[in-house]
């Protein structure tokens, strides 16, 4: 009885459905060369006619040109980014980043959450700068609610944020080398990161998604374990950073691969909206901590470091200089840290008056900001985030044409994008 039943091939069903939809839409049948996988020629091509002039231009191939689809599963696209690269031999003619493979709708999730629980959702955005992710909404919500965090809370915030910046930048050094084929620096970077992450887990209880900031303060006061670990870390950090830097910085091959690669002029960087270390490496002295001071940064002494060259090497050196500057800031913060409470008096469910607020911080990847609108309810009416890596990625299609495929990855790594933040 059952032996007569023929189980249809799901792939065939899918194709039949596609053919039906195509004929209904008045499109030509999809080109199939047969077999389980679609053809070599069509890899990277969208399965529909071009919708914009830009698409038309990108997907029209001249003689000798080829589309190479890099990602979303590629060893060095920093997560799940997809690059459609048009090449002539090894030379990149055009490049189109395709985003959205890690989209989780975090902004919408935040709009459905209460003001206090938003902090848990923003953590996994830019997962190498979770403390910064929490800092910007904390600033915005405090403005909205009209409260101020206690002085000690602000110091602890600045401390953990600078620690986070150190590990984020130190990872960038490793990833940049990894994308050029150096396999050792990334391990050193992770050792450096692990020490900082242990520190942060001593104060927040978690290693990666800290959930540490609160509206009007922080979750825990700095404890003895934290300070004792901080002392040990501070005693060795300059030496360890120097050690891992020595593998890369003066390496002749590394210099040949980075100097003069992906030069972004200051004017272009401003026009594209690039911010943070990438902007400062192009010679523009813009740092949110100086330009629009927040938290306790006006009380601290530091300079805005810039590099003039604007190439991959300058972006790399910029990060190293900023690691050293962050260590200098951490010294000052620990020195000046006052005693007192770490959490202001805040009701269990926060209902701000209707209004709007904007909080911006200098994240390791640039200007990270949050714009929140309240309608008087317990959750934000609108919640929008500006993620710096998303903006930095805009520079890639502008810089890459004329370079080689090998440099695409190296230049992209020098911008240090984190796809968790790009796709939100």
């Amino acid at each position: 009885m059952t032996s007569d039943v023929k189980i249809p091939d799901p792939l065939e069903l899918e194709r039949a459905e596609e053919a039906r939809l195509r004929s209904a839409a008045g499109l030509a049948p999809a080109a199939r060369t047969g077999g389980e996988y679609s053809g070599f020629e069509s890899v990277g091509l969208p399965d529909r006619p071009p919708e914009t002039e830009r698409e038309q231009e990108l997907y029209t191939l001249d003689e000798g040109e080829m589309l190479v689809n890099m990602g979303p599963q590629h060893p060095s696209t920093h997560g799940v980014m997809r690059l459609v690269v048009k090449v002539r031999g090894e030379v990149v003619i055009d490049i189109d980043p395709v985003l959205g493979y890690l989209h989780r709708g975090i902004e919408k999730l935040c709009e459905n959450a209460t003001y206090t629980t938003v902090m848990t959702y923003v953590d996994p955005m830019d997962y190498l700068a979770s403390m910064h992710n929490e800092h910007a909404p904390a600033i915005a919500f405090e403005k909205l609610f009209g409260i101020k965090a206690p002085k000690r809370a602000e110091y602890i915030r600045a401390l953990v944020v600078e620690l986070n910046r150190v590990f984020s930048h130190s990872l960038m050094m490793g990833f940049l080398a990894l994308d050029m084929g150096g396999i050792t620096p990334i391990l050193y970077s992770f050792i450096n990161r692990d020490e900082v992450v242990d520190l942060l887990s001593a104060i927040s209880g978690q290693r990666m998604l800290f959930n540490f900031f609160r509206v009007g303060g922080v979750n825990f006061d700095a404890n003895d374990e934290f300070f004792s670990r901080l002392g040990t870390w501070r005693a060795n950090v300059v030496k360890t950073i120097d050690m891992s830097e020595r593998v890369i910085t003066d390496n002749e091959v590394f210099r040949a691969r980075t100097i003069g690669m992906g030069v972004l002029s200051g004017k272009d960087a401003i026009a594209l909206g690039v911010s943070g270390p990438n902007l400062r490496a192009s010679g523009v002295p813009f740092d949110v901590r100086k330009a629009h001071p927040y938290s306790i940064y006006p009380e601290l002494e530091f300079e805005v470091i810039t590099h003039a060259a604007g190439d991959s090497n300058a972006r790399y050196l910029q990060r190293i200089a900023e690691i050293k500057q962050s260590i200098h800031l951490i010294d000052q913060i620990v020195d000046k840290m006052p005693h007192g409470p770490v959490q202001a008096q805040v009701p269990g469910i926060i209902r701000p008056k209707p209004g709007r607020a904007y909080g911006a911080v200098e994240s390791p990847r640039g200007l990270y900001s949050v714009y929140a609108v309240s309608d008087g309810g317990p959750n934000p009416y609108r919640f929008r985030m500006r993620d710096p890596s998303f903006i930095s990625l805009q520079a890639i299609p502008k810089l890459m044409p004329g370079h080689l495929i090998a440099d695409t990855m190296a230049v992209m790594a020098s911008f240090d994008p984190v796809m968790g933040g790009v796709d939100k």
Binding site: T33, G34, G35, E36, Y37, G39, F40, V43, M66, V68, N69, H74, P75, S76, E90, A177, L178, D179, M180, G181, G182, I183, T184, L187, Y188, I191, V247, I248, N251, V253, F254, A256, R257, L404, I405, A406, D407, T408, M409
Partner: protein
């Protein structure tokens, strides 16, 4: 020629090729194990330490693992050439091992143009890589295959030219005679330092080792020509790569570091079986030192770019090799060496 001599010759050939083929597998295992352990050390890791004492059998387990993996051929791939390519690459490496002088009396094929044979056969692997890149029906593979063709063909010229100086000095193309010459005149390293430098750089490029691993540039081309390969087919590429590292180191010490000769002159004449064992001992010590150096380079350096690589071959190494050859030849004529 009588039948006895013919049978003896055939038997000798079969025995030596079988021994060489059997030797390739443990050699690749040892080189892979060294790579795992040395890179782990330079990255402040333990490295493999579970299978066997000090993780000694990790690479053996890797070898058996690839045997157990699914062997998958893409639908669109050209099946005949796709299956042929790993064999070509592996056989190029294994066949070039025939002339490697392990010790006096331990050379599988000791014939008068061994050096020419070696470079000719090793160059065949580029055909395999190019075929793999083309047959895979994958754009990364294609780019990787073309890169391998460009890179290996360019580097073969300075590689071969760098050796010609040594050949002119010793007046022989036979590995055994070249080593005997070094016993009398001191290691070739002292006579041909420039040739050694060119040979070392070009040999790294020829066998696709970091910093010249353009072909399998994992951060750009995923795995180059090997992208679509799986199971033992991939295993053969993998074996051939590590085998080539061993062979190149072996040839380099034979050409420039006295081959099986001990670093000191005694015992001057150690004949028979004992001499063979003593020679094999020194051959392996020296070869694995240079394998370790190549592994340390991989742990330290980043990859050069494809145009920088080609520029170095044609603009720097080739003229240098030419000048080296010219100076050597002139010296041989003038001083009647």
């Amino acid at each position: 020629m009588d039948l006895g001599a013919l049978l003896l010759g055939v038997g000798r050939f079969l025995l030596s090729t079988t021994l060489i083929l059997l030797l390739t597998v443990p050699t690749a295992f040892v080189v892979i194990q060294m790579e795992l352990k040395i890179i782990a050390g330079s990255q402040l890791r333990y490295g493999p330490n579970r299978i066997g004492p000090w993780g000694m059998f990790q690479s053996t387990i890797h070898g058996f693992k690839v045997l157990a993996k699914e062997d998958h051929i893409p639908d669109q791939a050209d099946r005949a050439t796709f299956t042929l390519a790993p064999w070509m690459v592996y056989m190029a490496a294994a066949m070039s091992m025939l002339v490697i002088p392990f010790a006096p009396g331990a050379i599988a094929a000791d014939f008068n143009i061994g050096i020419v044979y070696f470079f000719a056969v090793l160059g065949l692997s580029v055909v395999g890589l190019l075929i793999a890149g083309w047959a895979s029906y994958n754009k990364y593979s294609l780019l990787g295959g073309l890169r391998s063709a460009a890179q290996m063909v360019s580097y073969e010229i300075p590689l071969t030219l760098s050796v010609v100086g040594a050949v002119v000095l010793a007046g022989t193309l036979n590995f055994r005679e070249l080593i005997e010459w070094q016993r009398a005149h001191g290691w070739m390293l002292l006579w041909q330092p420039v040739g050694l430098g060119i040979f070392y750089i070009a040999s790294l490029a020829e066998i696709n080792r970091t910093p010249f691993d353009m072909v399998e540039a994992d951060s750009e081309l995923v795995a180059g020509p090997f992208t679509e390969y799986s199971g033992m087919r991939f295993g053969f590429f993998f074996f051939a790569e590590y085998l080539a590292l061993f062979i190149m180191s072996g040839v380099m010490i034979s050409l420039f570091f006295g081959g099986w000769l001990a670093p000191w002159p005694f015992p001057a004449e150690l004949g028979g079986f004992l001499g063979t064992v003593y020679g094999v001992f020194w051959f392996f010590i020296k070869t694995y030192i240079f394998v370790a150096v190549a592994v340390l380079l991989r742990a330290t350096l980043v990859r050069v770019r494809v145009d920088q690589l080609m520029g170095a071959a044609w603009k720097v190494l080739l003229p240098l090799a030419m000048i080296n050859l010219l100076v050597t030849a002139a010296a041989v004529v003038v001083f009647n060496l």
